[in-house]
């Protein structure tokens, strides 16, 4: 360094007498736009001259330019060329973007890695830093809007909650959740991954990519790879943290006390509240349950290594209070990833993490706050919780629930990871043995004290419930890879054998009547043993698999991949246990073809096509073919009415059950334009799922309590995955991205003898109706035709019976002159027909700016919480326009409490379309000169806003109501925990 400075000085002095002829010394730094790592050996040329230089080991350069106001050209293999006009500057920081990263990056695929350009399957890749930008405990939520063809919706706003993910539509009537593979370990729960540990996430979307996961690949596979160590001169230590505040995204427009009293008077037809206006605003119950809640995160990591070993250590603490009082989640994660080269032919490694979590669970108060009349204060004049029994309410005072029912905590820990060894032998062969493990335990403790707020909100005996559960899963895989290149041929063959086992068990109990409520007394043994209840259960399964894949490329142009997996699963009986899952795909890299070379604007072109068969065994329940004998069917006998054990078979099972099968075709095009600045990838797919497990209705006289399930139904998903990215390096580096994913979902067949599946019963009427030819779980009910304005209209219209003037007139949709259940029709789909997102990023002089916008459309939401009126609840604001003789509304019926106007109809259906500013962040990285004085390699400060703006048509908190467990009941707002918006400020320091 010193030598160089001297040299610069020397040259500068040498040239000093000639500075008048516009010869300037420029110094600068060239960085990777993505990682901010210095780029070594970048060629720098002065335009229209033959002067040039290279960056040094620190990415720095010094260059004497000869012309006045020259333009500098930066070139680097694999990166987009950058041209910068000097404009009188003598210091430059230049960011260079990898050229169309879609093509040249290495992507992780099942049991290996591949160059993106060699891929023949549909695989999308997300970088770790794009995941870490969203402040969430769970990587699942951070995937929203990042991958084409992947629909992600937060499963709830509960702190620490994950997301419901649907890859290329909803592929089955049952379990449609994707499979996760974290560093080679297969799991269904990725909640333990610290987002900052993620190197990349790959989503395997088509059959070619996912078929290697066989009987579990049908819903797509999400591969999560955590950061490994990098060979460096000195270890890099990074400390980072952020702090933020979250709040509810919006409030629901409900009546205030004066409006409620007036509405109630109208409903009763008498002046229950003599002077409604005097009641004013009353209590906004939403204010009583929501709060501004802090969220923060602190991480420390060390990364480094030599030729012999590389390591990445990290520690992370994440803490999130929920926007509903008393809810909380925190997690402490440690990770040790390492790889060790033992000798010339063998290396071993590991990726191991341990996470410990704590959850404080708040009682469900969103619904009760929505329902509670605003005329009540949380507490009455004596300081007791208000008892709203005057209205015969069967609802709980949410303030009291929060007070009495919040001693509810879960703790858990999970040790997760893998150990592996790679052995090279013969020529071209590599053998790998990989042992993955996932050991978890979870404890729950809930104490509910004795209390009485009202006749319907009380707990007669204090009660402690505790539970513990554990999981112990392992996988052992042996794979052999043959990799050989000769002439213009390259072949890679992978073969392997894997065995895996999953075990889980739980144990718990409860007692009542504790001698006190102090924490140290709250252990089961302190309770009354005559009130004890307990349970214990366990589950296990095993899978054996053979796997095979061959990739062949010729001239780097013609690509072929075939793969095959044979699974044997313990879930099915011996004769039905084995399944074969083949796939094949081809690709044509046209970049070097003459007709592409001749096109100036187009620099890359690849087309590919794939077809294959995948399975979904997760739709089958635990032991679906075993005739399980149900116990605890007690008979009660004796003078003390004792429980006498009872047990028998109550349902018939199907010994021939198998997994569901998906056949998927995919055609994709990858394109690069304008020197790699614009990259596009477009895929079309058709995914047909057969043999979907469904209960076949049998007559009730058979006496089976559950209908036997068989492989029968069929669902189709067809759609497009479209991604476009523009990246431009330079002193002002920027990028834009667009993702658009339209999908059409359609049920092709249900069970023999069953033409429809009803679900989501609201007051006994189904609001979800699945039929052939329409999407799964379509909304179903009456259509509102208007409001009965006159007695004459009422008398002359078809009606259900009991309607009065001012009530809703439902449409006689089949025009038979009679209004009955046959007039209920399909009202709309809960599944978005399109999801999309936009990203934009700019970097300039140390500043970085990023914005992510996402949205979905074409679907509906059913405001189910509004249909429940067992007692007099508060009403939504729209009833202010209610029909009266003086206000003959054409849209809002007279005020009633349940009954006709609350029948399941499109009155409660609202458009689900929304667009949301998912993330907006502004950061500043200190100039290298400033930070190096503080002995810091790099320091960045930033502010980020998350979900800070949403445009939605839906009246509730948020229009996203996915359902991980039940595909028939999607899009129903039953009043769950809403998502939050937040602002946070953070800092990253690298030593």
């Amino acid at each position: 360094m010193q030598m160089k400075t001297l040299r610069i000085l020397f040259y500068s002095l040498l040239w000093l007498p000639f500075t008048s002829i516009a010869q300037t010394t420029v110094t600068g730094l060239v960085l990777d736009a993505n990682s901010n790592d210095p780029l070594i050996g970048v060629t720098i040329l002065e335009a229209q001259t033959d002067h040039g230089t290279l960056t040094d080991l620190d990415g720095r350069f010094t260059f004497v330019v000869s012309s006045a106001d020259p333009t500098l050209i930066f070139r680097y293999t694999g990166y987009s060329t950058v041209e910068i006009k000097l404009d009188g500057r003598d210091q430059l920081e230049v960011k260079m973007a990898e050229e169309a990263t879609l093509f040249d990056q290495i992507v992780v695929v099942g049991y290996g890695t591949q160059k993106k350009s060699d891929l023949t399957g549909a695989v999308s890749s997300v970088k770790g830093k794009d995941i870490a930008r969203i402040p969430t405990a769970n990587v699942e939520q951070a995937l929203q809007g990042k991958v084409s063809g992947v629909y992600v919706a937060p499963s709830s706003g509960t702190p620490g909650a994950g997301a419901v993910i649907r890859i290329r539509g909803t592929g089955t009537l049952n379990n449609a959740n994707p499979l996760y593979v974290i560093d080679g370990m297969i799991t269904y729960d990725a909640s333990n991954v610290n987002p900052e540990d993620v190197e990349s996430i790959e989503v395997l979307k088509d059959a070619s990519a996912a078929a290697i996961y066989g009987s579990r690949g049908a819903n797509g596979v999400i591969l999560i790879t955590t950061k490994g160590g990098k060979t460096r001169d000195k270890a890099s230590i990074t400390a980072s943290g952020y702090y933020g505040v979250q709040q509810v995204t919006k409030q629901i427009d409900l009546l205030n006390a004066a409006e409620f009293a007036s509405a109630y008077n109208d409903f009763r037809g008498q002046q229950y509240f003599p002077n409604p206006d005097s009641l004013g605003e009353g209590t906004n119950w939403q204010d009583e349950i929501f709060r501004n809640a802090p969220i923060y995160n602190a991480s420390l990591s060390a990364n480094g290594g030599s030729e012999q070993y590389q390591f990445n250590f990290s520690a992370n603490y994440f803490s999130q209070d929920g926007i509903i009082q008393n809810s909380h989640y925190d997690r402490l994660t440690f990770r040790i990833n390492g790889e060790y080269k033992l000798n010339s032919f063998m290396s071993i490694g590991h990726n191991i993490s341990n996470s410990s979590i704590r959850e404080d669970v708040a009682p469900g108060v969103v619904n009760t706050a929505y329902r509670m009349p605003p005329v009540y204060a949380p507490r009455d004049s004596t300081g007791d919780f208000s008892d709203p029994t005057f209205f015969g309410l069967a609802i709980a005072n949410p303030a009291a629930d929060l007070y009495y029912k919040s001693d509810n905590h879960n703790t858990g820990s999970r040790l997760f990871g893998n150990l592996y060894a790679d052995i090279d032998f013969l020529k071209n062969f590599t053998f790998r043995t990989n042992f993955g493990f996932d050991k978890g335990n979870r404890n729950s403790k809930y104490f509910e004290p004795k209390f009485e707020v009202s006749a319907s909100q009380l707990n007669k005996n204090d009660r402690l419930s505790v539970g513990t559960s554990s999981t112990n899963d392992w996988i052992w895989e042996q794979t052999l890879t043959y990799d050989h290149t000769w002439d213009e041929h390259h072949i890679t063959v992978l073969g392997g054998y894997t065995a895996e086992e999953r075990n889980s068990s739980n144990l718990g109990g409860s007692r009542e009547n504790f001698p006190g409520t102090a924490d140290e007394l709250l252990y089961l043994s302190a309770g009354n043993d005559t009130t004890q209840m307990n349970y214990q259960g366990a589950y296990d399964e095993a899978i054996n698999s053979l796997l095979f894949r061959a990739n062949y490329t010729f001239k780097n142009k013609y690509l072929l991949t075939v793969s095959f997996r044979r699974d044997q699963s313990s879930r099915f009986t011996k004769t039905n246990r084995t399944g074969n899952f083949p796939s094949a795909s081809i690709g044509w890299n046209m970049t070097d073809e003459s007709f592409v070379q001749g096109l100036d604007f187009l620099d890359r072109l690849k087309v590919r096509a794939s077809y294959g068969v995948l399975g979904n065994q997760a739709s089958a329940s635990g032991y679906p073919s075993t005739g399980a004998v149900t116990s605890a069917l007690y008979g009660i006998f004796g003078p003390n009415e004792s429980l006498n054990q009872g047990a028998t078979l109550i349902s018939l099972s199907n010994a021939n059950l198998q997994w569901e099968t998906s056949r998927q075709a995919d055609i994709g095009v990858e394109m690069g334009f304008f020197d790699g600045r614009l990259a596009m990838e477009v895929d079309w797919y058709n995914r047909e799922t057969y043999d979907i497990i469904a209960a076949v209705p049998i007559p009730d006289y058979v006496g089976s309590q559950a209908d036997p399930v068989v492989n029968t139904a069929q669902v189709n998903n067809q759609g497009w995955d479209i991604t476009a990215n523009w990246r431009q390096g330079g002193t002002v580096a920027y990028n834009f991205g667009v993702i658009v994913s339209p999908v059409t979902n359609s049920v092709e067949k249900l069970a023999n003898g069953r033409s429809e599946i009803f679900a989501a019963f609201l007051q006994g009427e189904p609001a979800s109706h699945t039929v052939v030819g329409l999407p799964i779980g379509g909304f179903y009910g009456y259509k509102v035709g208007g409001i009965f304005q006159t007695q004459e209209e009422l008398d002359n219209s078809p009606k259900l019976g009991g309607e009065k003037v001012g009530d809703i007139r439902f449409q006689d949709t089949n025009l038979d002159g009679i209004l009955n259940g046959d007039d209920r029709v399909y009202l709309g789909s809960p599944i978005p027909t399109i999801t999309y997102s936009f990203t934009a990023g700019v970097e300039w002089n140390g500043f970085d700016f990023n914005a992510d916008v996402l949205g979905a459309g074409g679907h509906y939401v059913f405001n189910a919480k509004e249909t429940f009126r067992f007692s007099v609840y508060n009403w939504e604001q729209h009833v202010e326009d209610r029909w009266t003789l003086e206000n003959p509304s054409l849209t809002e019926p007279r005020i009633t409490n349940g009954g006709h106007n609350y029948k399941v109809s499109d009155r409660f259906l609202e458009k689900g379309d929304f667009i949301r500013l998912r993330s907006l962040s502004l950061g500043y990285t200190l100039p290298a000169g400033v930070s190096s004085k503080a002995k810091i390699d790099r320091m960045r400060v930033y502010v980020t806003g998350t979900n800070i703006w949403t445009s939605q048509e839906y009246s509730g908190y948020s229009p996203e109501f996915p359902n991980a467990g039940n595909t028939y009941e999607v899009g129903f707002d039953f009043g769950g925990y809403p998502i939050a918006k937040s602002w946070q400020a953070g800092i990253e320091i690298q030593f």
Partner: protein, 503 residues
């Protein structure tokens, strides 16, 4: 050069050895045993029906089904009391409209209560068939084995007896069906179903002990008396009155039963399995404040709605029933809870609930405060009381032209109801057959009101068409004397099952 060769050799041999060792190790997990998994903590059908315990458990599981929602909540109450002239739907006007359809005779073949009752009863038959088919093969004490089969046959017969009274001809399923038999069952004529019930009950009478002969721990199991009682009712339905007399007198003369001194005690905890009780479905609340596995929703659905909040307030005693009572009959007070009334345990006064019209509740389903919430219902469901048998005996003797014996039995019931108040409920003295019949019919109604007997009594007397239109104009005699088979059964069998008239 030599060195290099040697290192390659080492590399080769060490690598190969390790790989071979690993492959051998993993081959161990390749065995078929690795993939054979059974549910944990759960018996499976292949290992069931092997021990005496299994026989007892399989029998107990049939009793359990009688506490299900389908057999004791809306479906059961809906097509016994609410559908009859004894009761209206109750609760708030808009709550559970499908139950209102029963009250007003606007229901169709898809009504959830009718469908639910059909399902629930066939579930019980499924369990009974399993027990009756499999217990004989278990090596065990022969007396116990015979008794358990007797219990199962009693419960199966009683279940079919309910079905045949509601629906007429029904599919007679007497064993677990194979999958090729699911969709092709036909209705069996009610006469053959009667015969089947009679055979089961006669078997049960032969196998079951009397109430007193059971061990104390078995109190609540089906008895010889219970089987005779249901058989008496079957004969009454068939108008075979000599046989009604035979069975009733066998019960009366057994010395096993007597009337309780206080009528109201029958429905309080003190009356459970009392001297008057011939058969009841036992229930028990869990001590813990949750829904216990021995609880039923029976008390909850009929409990006071509002203050005190004991339940949902369904099955409201009708105006017509209130009018039926003779002046001063204490059984009215024991049957109905009114607003302003102090509850039987003196705990509190029932307040007016503005949401419930013409508020009244079924006191016979009332239970004192218990742990847990309403759905932890502990009240036993009284199925057959001694006074029922006395009145059935009276009815049969009258039909067989023995009015003296009829009046004797009838007045035993009235005397007890009267208690110490001699100004009310005078003895019936008429010997006129028709007049006495009316007196007995009247007595049955008030004595057994709100105990789910009325609809069956009206049906057996052939009086549904005379009585029901007076209280429910929607009643059509040609149609509503039988309930519709669930529409789904008609559809699934492709019409092999033929619907009842008018549906």
């Amino acid at each position: 050069m030599k060195n290099i060769t040697r290192s390659i050799e080492i590399k080769m041999t060490t690598g190969w050895r390790m790989i071979m060792a690993l492959l051998v190790l993993t081959a161990v997990s390749c065995s078929e045993d690795f993939l054979e998994r059974k549910p944990r903590g759960q018996l499976t059908y292949d290992t069931f029906f092997e021990t005496p315990d299994h026989a007892v458990w399989a029998t107990n599981a049939i009793y359990h089904q009688f506490r299900s929602w389908e057999m004791c909540a809306f479906p059961w109450i809906g097509i016994t009391d609410i559908i009859s002239d004894d009761a209206d739907k109750g609760s708030t006007p808009n709550d559970a409209l499908y139950v209102l359809e029963l009250d007003e005779f606007t229901f169709d073949a898809a009504n959830a209560a009718v469908t639910g009752a059909w399902q629930g009863h066939y579930h019980a038959i499924f369990r009974a068939n399993l027990a009756i088919d499999n217990i004989p093969g278990i090596e065990m004490d022969s007396t116990l084995r015979a008794r358990l089969i007797g219990e199962a046959k009693f419960l199966r017969a009683y279940t079919y007896f309910r079905l045949v009274q509601w629906f007429g001809d029904v599919p007679l399923i007497t064993r677990t069906l194979n999958d090729d038999e699911y969709y092709n069952q036909e209705r069996t004529s009610k006469e053959l179903v009667y015969d089947f019930i009679e055979t089961d009950l006669l078997d049960a009478i032969g196998a079951l002990p009397e109430k007193d002969d059971y061990a104390s721990a078995d109190l609540g199991r089906a008895t010889k008396g219970a089987a005779r009682g249901i058989l008496a009712k079957l004969y009454a339905v068939k108008h075979d009155f000599p046989k009604v007399i035979e069975q009733c007198d066998a019960i009366i003369n057994s010395g096993e039963y007597s009337l309780l001194a206080r009528y109201a005690d029958n429905f309080l905890p003190v009356g459970e399995h009392g001297a008057e009780s011939i058969f009841e479905i036992s229930a028990v609340a869990s001590q813990a404040a949750i829904v216990g596995p021995g609880a039923t929703p029976f008390n909850m659905i009929q409990g006071v709605r509002g203050v005190p909040n004991l339940g949902w307030g369904f099955n409201r005693p009708s105006d017509d029933l209130v009018a039926e009572y003779e002046a001063g009959d204490p059984r009215r007070q024991a049957t109905i809870i009114y607003v302003g009334e102090v509850l039987p345990d003196g705990s509190t006064i029932v307040e007016d609930n503005p949401e419930v019209l013409n508020e009244r509740y079924n006191q016979k389903a009332w239970v004192p405060a218990h742990s847990g919430l309403q759905d932890n219902g502990p009240g036993n469901i009284r199925v057959l009381r001694y006074s029922d048998i006395l009145l059935l005996g009276a009815e049969a003797y009258n039909e067989e032209n023995n009015p003296a014996k009829a009046v004797e039995y009838l007045n035993i019931v009235r005397t007890r109801a009267r208690g110490s108040n001699n100004f009310i409920l005078p003895n019936v003295t008429t010997m006129d057959k028709a007049e006495l019949r009316e007196s007995i019919y009247h007595e049955r109604r008030v004595e057994l009101a709100m105990e789910q007997h009325r609809w069956f009594d009206l049906a057996r007397w052939g009086r549904l068409g005379d009585v029901m239109p007076l209280v429910q104009p929607g009643f059509v005699a040609t149609k509503h004397i039988l309930l519709p088979l669930p529409q789904s059964e008609i559809d699934l069998t492709g019409g092999t099952l033929v619907q009842n008239n008018g549906y």
